[in-house]
Subunit: 99 residues, 2 copies
C-alpha cells in the first residue's frame, strides 16, 4: 500500500539533502520543531496541510513539484504490485503435447 506520509517524507528529505541544508535550518524556517520535522521526513508522523505548505515554502519547493514526484513514486509502486499476466499460450501448448 502506498502511504502518503512515507512518500512525502522521502521527497522532503531528499530535497533538503540535495540543497545541502540541515534539519535545524528547515525546522527554524518552517516553524516546526526539529524532532517533529525529522519524524515527518521519516514518514512516521502525518503533517497537517499547513505544515506541508510551510516546509515546502522553506525548501523553496513548489507544491506542484512535490506532488508530481509523489505521483511518480505511487505509479512505480502500482506497476510493481500489478498482477503479472501468465503465459497462457505456453500452457495451451503443454496441453497439446500431453494429448
Amino acid at each position: 500500500m502506498v502511504l502518503l506520509r512515507e512518500e512525502l517524507g522521502d521527497v522532503l528529505r531528499h530535497a533538503r539533502r540535495e540543497q545541502g541544508r540541515t534539519l535545524r535550518d528547515i525546522s527554524a524556517e518552517a516553524a516546526v520543531s526539529l524532532g517533529y520535522l525529522s519524524e515527518i521526513e521519516r514518514g512516521e508522523k502525518e503533517a497537517s496541510s499547513e505544515l506541508v505548505a510551510s516546509i515546502c515554502h522553506a525548501l523553496g519547493l513548489p507544491m506542484s513539484v512535490v506532488f508530481t514526484e509523489i505521483a511518480h513514486r505511487a505509479g512505480r509502486a502500482e506497476r510493481a504490485s500489478a498482477p503479472v499476466a501468465l503465459p497462457l499460450a505456453a500452457r495451451d501448448e503443454d496441453v497439446v503435447s500431453a494429448a
Copy 2:
C-alpha cells in the same frame, strides 16, 4: 496557499460524483463514517495516509492518478499567484516621450 486536504477532498468528491456513487457507498467500502468522509471531501479534516489509500481503493482510483491531479491543481494555483511582470519597455518609451 495550496492546502493538500482541500485539493485532495475536491479530487475525491469529484471522482465519486463522476462515478455516480454516494457517500454511503464509499464510506461503507472504505470503512470510514459517512460524516467523516463528507468532512474529508469538503477539505475540513485531514485524512490519515491509510484512510487516503482506503478511499482511493474504494473509488478504484490509483493514488498516482489522484496525486497527478493534485499536482496539476497546485500548478494552476501557483501560476495564478505568480508575480506579474510589468511592461518595462512601455515605461521606457514613456520616459523618452516625456523628455
